[in-house]
Symmetry: C2
DNA sequence: CCAAAAGTGTTCGCAGTACACCCATGC
DNA sequence: GCATGGGTGTACTGCGAACACTTTTGG
């Protein structure tokens, strides 16, 4: 049997100051019953990205909002039976595109808080660590965090998202000054969303056009 | 026939203010006679990195000094015959570890100036572009450029290396001040190397220990 | 009126940048 | 002594960092 090619997806979701990952429960050996990253074998006539999207669709029904290749894992022995080389991707989804499902014994798919993970199958912990690392570092030089929010969001959500994922406090005034300085957020006429508590914030939307224009010229994002 | 897994290597060498890539001439169709990146199929029991090193050894005899995974290319149709997914790596070699071989019709391996490349087989131009991009950006936040110099080198070589690869002029005083500030270069007692012209420079060596210590603590390189 | 979150400006220090002259060597 | 590259210090400026009070809303 020759080398088999698979994909795995590390899909993050953010809500209520928690960063989640989508995991699926394995039905068959090896690692039967363990939680694992969604993924599977690449078909003959699909691209790698298509394979990831198809598997995600089949296994989780998740609608992905951002997807990029992460790394390819190919150590012999990472799958105890065959030689499987896996191209890992990492993806982001909006809160409105997933429901938080608590992990139960019956569940087949669930979102887990990245701070409270179960044991994972294969080398998936390693893959997840790399994805988390990539997410954190990329957050500071590209505004990919916006893919974790709904299309319209109050600015405070963005602040909290950064603080949650980077796991550090951020000066609200400096953060806003800097982020707004890029000019990639549009203030919406829509009045503030319903606020549970406190003063409601204005709503903003990501201006993709403006962002691409800036990226062409080469600009430095560099959020801390 | 199932999907085949291969590796390709983009190996850079630097000398005399020129950045070179190692290419091999293809002996068989498709693209017979074209220049291509060294690479080949992954064997059943070797890791991806071992595969790259083996192929490099077999096809070019090059002694590699730095190697990292670049990206995995898997579009159906990138190889006109079969479905081949290729994990690309990028590598760096020291000047003392390669001889510049001019490309001739007889040559099987040659170093090409990255500014003067022949047509390449498959999507290898695309791979090479990505590697160049990665090299340039990585140069500014990790001192990987040192892997392109001999273990002992005059500081001026480092300056010229950065200027060549980044294709821009650099203020010598600021560059030295900043680079030296990291404390990862040791001045050697060895007197200056033979200089062709002008005043000979002091020799320096990369202090890997010091560098790793710094990296642990998390420091920002950021050379421009 | 109290609690909770939104919104906003100024000061300080440092690091990046710009800039030019003298030194050592080979021929 | 001339050409070539090596080696060095200072002043400016702009950006990141630190920092606290007022406003709006719901209860």
């Amino acid at each position: 049997m020759s080398i088999q090619l698979a994909t795995d997806a590390v899909v993050f979701g953010y809500q209520h100051e928690q960063l989640f990952v989508a995991l699926v429960r394995r039905k068959y050996p090896p690692f039967e019953g363990h939680w694992a990253l969604p993924g599977g074998f690449v078909l003959e006539n699909e691209s790698l990205e298509q394979a990831v999207r198809r598997e995600l669709e089949e296994e989780t029904g998740i609608k992905i909002n951002y997807l990029e290749q992460l790394y390819t894992f190919g150590e012999p022995g990472r799958d105890p039976r065959h030689r499987v080389v896996s191209v890992a991707y990492f993806g982001l989804v909006r809160p409105s595109d997933f429901q938080i499902v608590a992990a139960t014994d019956a569940a087949e798919v669930a979102w887990f808080d990245t701070k409270d993970l179960p044991p994972l199958a294969f080398d998936h912990h390693h893959i997840l660590d790399m994805a988390l690392h990539r997410l954190r570092s990329k957050l500071t030089y590209e505004p990919i965090g916006l893919n974790l929010l709904d299309p319209q969001f109050p600015f405070g959500d963005l602040e909290r998202l950064y603080m949650t994922i980077l796991d550090q406090s951020i000066d609200r005034r400096n953060f806003r000054k800097k982020f707004m300085g890029f000019g990639i957020l549009n203030e919406l006429p829509a009045k503030a969303a319903t606020a549970d508590k406190g003063r409601p914030g204005k709503l903003y939307a990501f201006d993709v056009e403006q962002y691409n224009a800036l990226k062409e010229k080469g600009f430095l994002f560099d959020i801390k």
